[in-house]
Symmetry: C2
């Protein structure tokens, strides 16, 4: 007998349906730099989502299930409200949303679209020239839907694909479309990592992963101290929607009934302006963004007390933290990666820390990435997967188990097997943890130097070397060594005025000062410092390409 | 190929494992009235849970799965830390925890144990005489484990069952026991309703239901305004653990890392004392409990500002609310029932209500039960399951869909089918909802009087009649009527000093005053008022037994 009990599946359509039902008149504001603002209530957003989902269902997209991915649909867009609509409309139909990372190189972008086998591409008109040049290399793409802020019909022709316009399709869509009842294990999204080495890797998530992630973010992560986020806060979507689900906020903020602001393409002066115009209280980004907010003439007389900023991607410099504190801005940190949807934790305080002196709490905000979110297990382990001591000193690799991780690397079972060895996601991040279980990142595992069984973090040496006044760029890599197996080698580029003057000895002497002060041990000093006249090699996303440096210099100590 | 990805199941063991990992030194305090306090860290609690789970696994209990329930294990206890341990230890092994409602009559209790087919019973020594008298009627029970606060071996003999002592078993258990990896759809708990009519009905929940319920409670219900609960709060477990999962707190509070206090058997003076001793900031219960807190000499000089109280089971009288407000106590309301694990929502404010005048917010606290929790859909519908207007006046039945509802009524497919008709749980509660979607309970559907197609809520008439100074008790029931199909009949018992004096006419005249004031329409006045000299019949849980009254009086208008 079939049970009469409704088999509630944790699918993405439930999030928008619930939000529109519980907060029909709450607002989403789309405020692009060069077009009028669009204000959508949750109710209106839900209507527009259903319209676009109905359009997709008429396109006869293939519905996925536990085993097979549905039709893949790529999106190339800035942080617009249309992209937000697609966050719901695409997965709701059983198709898979592939958020194309528009910061990749054109070749990498084409690579991801071909791996995904996207059949439909939604694109902002800003990316039309790029897409147009790529299309001959994208055999699976059959339809392109152009999204524009212009309030007029646009005339676009592309070879060998059908071209549609988003707003026209939306008008023709069914505002009362009912999505199919999907199994919660249906794949919903496909998101590529922007790895520092090699080609981007595809991660993919079930509806269930995204719903669980969305609830837990609201259940003791950002709503715990120091941020104490509430639904009164107003969120500004700075994290790009084309990267790691925009940090999950397009989903989680709706479950809190929070007003959210989408700024369109990145124009920092404009973003600063809308913080004031829309009463934004809360955002996340790299420290530079915080610097811009604090030093904006636009916000000179604006009361930033209680403004909340989650530092993501890198630690906050102490000077910037002090400035933020003076303004009354609250800082926290996020812990995540594409593979974990992306959140695995954040910097929150435990109840007993409430009574800690302010300096001790600040030390955590400055020097810890955080601790695991509810139900997430994060460990710092040695190569045998045994926990390293919680002493804040012993380094190990971060491994993770969460209810919402990627189902693997898409079409890469070998890399999947290797990364999940022993049933835990190996993040490749080297870290220490302290007696309270808080994590501090140290380095990437592949970048650390394993010298005689001891680990030397490349990032720490890079930090110290970069304080020399003549250094423009620096990278420290592991070079092969007969006795110690690996030893550090530094590659340095001098600033303009130091060109032809900076020497290996200058750098060694600079580091010796830190040794004398007890900052680092003597044996961390690189065996060699190479002074390059040009620039360090870069990846497509602008990070130093250590792989190229390793290929070139890893044998330099043996050749000697 | 088997996927190397860890298949994270939402099972109850994850809650305690995570809590002990994230907050190892947070405290659970067991403070019984007549024995020394026991302080357990989360870490110690986890150890004791594993010890007891290992003991159960050695008892060769049967592990359940999606289709079949594991061994049922009954628990008869007050709110003790041992019961808390069993909330984790029993389901963790794959067995089913049956929380025996010790407020039922002995016959009903035996009925539930026999329906459950409990093979093991954990019992507080307080219930030994009762259990001993029931055992001859409990053929499935093979083992009894006695729980006592006495720090000495106890000597208990019961016929035909093996008898063990909890602390001795615990000492012998394995502190490092690893639970089996259960499917999250395994049934974890069996909880009987205390219905006002008929025998208790069994509801049963999967591991997944309980984990989802636990997260969502922390994701925008009690941690939203007006309570703004945080992990700094200290929870006092007043809701009985033998009823509706103790409102879910034994699970959800651990995910917040909250200090919790378990007061043992109900001794109100003692409970008041531990509020002060343990710095309790937060509890839930009937309004009487709040009255006791406010008027306790023990708390006369105790600062109750910021103390949080969730009114459960019935609305808070205005006078009591005003008193609470003067003391700075924050009030909210819970919306739930056994069938929904039990939470379906609570009284929380939307962001836009922050700027409402205080009186308007208070009106909500006084006269609304609340609105749905995230992902829960609550509707108020007419008999065709169409939403009634959100006008705060039109009555309808509450129907619910939540990710965590009972899988049906245990061994009662007919009742299950009937209650879940159309894919929604029909709660049997009559309510109105307002333009903001907030629910106000009106009556039980089976108690409302359907007069000529219009509904007259029995509870409203009972409230008004009870304000007559001569009335001790009152029940209003539906009596059959030739023309109107049903008409209200009131059954009243007079206070001592009014015995032999109170008349039908007194009551009718009293109600006519309300008609003249426009409080109720004229046609709501009962067709008959019966004055009884004795007491109204009661159910085992002390509620008025309207079924008995209906059996006796429902034909009284036709016989005339």
């Amino acid at each position: 007998m079939v049970s009469p009990i409704y088999d509630y599946q944790l699918t993405i359509d439930k999030i928008i349906e619930w939000a529109a039902y519980a907060y029909p008149d709450q607002e989403i504001v789309y405020a692009p730099p060069k077009a009028p603002k669009v204000r959508l209530t949750y109710s209106k957003l839900h209507e527009r989502v259903r319209r676009m989902a109905s359009v997709l269902s008429q396109f006869k997209i293939k519905q996925g299930d536990k085993e097979n991915l549905g039709t893949r649909i790529g999106v190339m867009d800035w942080n617009t409200s249309r992209f937000l609509e697609l966050y719901y409309a695409i997965p709701m139909t059983g198709a898979v949303m592939h958020t194309v990372n528009v910061r990749l190189s054109p070749e990498e972008m084409a690579y991801t679209i071909n791996v995904a086998e996207d059949e439909i591409i939604f694109t902002n008109e800003d990316f039309l020239p790029l897409l147009s040049s790529l299309l001959p290399k994208l055999p699976t793409v059959k339809k392109v839907i152009v999204m524009s802020d212009k309030n007029e019909d646009i005339d676009v022709k592309l070879p060998n694909v059908e071209v549609y316009e988003y707003e026209k399709l939306s008008r023709e869509g069914d505002p009362n479309y009912t999505p199919p009842e999907l199994d919660e294990n249906t794949i919903a999204t496909l998101v590529f990592t922007s790895g520092t080495t090699g080609l981007p890797k595809g991660t993919y998530f079930r509806h269930r992963d995204i719903v669980l992630h969305s609830i837990v973010v609201n259940a003791g992560v950002w709503n715990a101290p120091p941020l104490n986020l509430t639904h009164k806060d107003v969120w500004l979507q700075i994290p790009p929607l084309f990267h790691a689900h925009g940090w999950g906020s397009p989903y989680s903020s709706l479950l809190l009934g929070m007003k959210s602001v989408y700024p369109g393409r990145y124009d920092w002066n404009h973003i600063i302006r809308i913080i004031k115009e829309e009463g934004v209280t809360y955002t996340a980004g790299v420290p530079t963004m915080l610097y811009l907010i604090i030093n904006s003439p636009e916000l000179a007389n604006y009361d930033l007390r209680g403004f909340k900023f989650i530092v993501a991607g890198q630690a906050i410099p102490k000077g910037l933290y002090e400035e933020a504190k003076k303004k009354g801005i609250l800082i926290s940190q996020g812990m995540g990666m594409t593979e974990t949807a992306p959140l695995m934790g954040g910097l929150t305080f435990k109840p007993k820390m409430e009574n800690w002196p302010e300096e001790k709490k600040e030390e955590y905000i400055l020097y810890r990435a955080g601790r695991p979110a509810p139900l997430v297990f994060v460990r710092v382990v040695d190569p045998d997967m045994k926990d390293v001591p919680k002493d804040g000193k012993t380094m190990g690799e971060i491994i993770v188990r969460a209810p919402w991780m990627t189902r693997g690397y898409y079409k890469d079972p070998k890399k999947t097997e290797e990364t999940w060895r022993g049933g835990w996601l190996h993040t490749g991040d080297l870290a220490v943890w302290d007696e309270e279980g808080y994590i501090a990142y140290v380095d990437r595992v592949k970048d650390v130097i394993k010298s005689g069984g001891e680990w030397i973090p490349s990032t720490r040496l890079e930090d110290l070397i970069s304080t020399h006044p003549g250094v423009a760029e620096v990278a420290v890599i592991a070079a092969k060594h007969e006795k110690w197996i690996e030893r550090p080698v530094a590659i340095v580029t001098p600033k303009q005025e130091y060109k032809g003057k900076l020497t290996e000895n200058d750098i060694i002497q600079h580091l010796n000062k830190f040794v004398n002060q007890g900052v680092i041990p003597k044996w961390w000093i690189p065996d060699k410092v190479i002074i390059l006249e040009g620039e360090l090699p870069k990846t497509s996303t602008g990070k130093t390409d250590k792989k190229v440096l390793r290929d070139k210099y890893s044998n330099i100590l043996i050749q000697k």
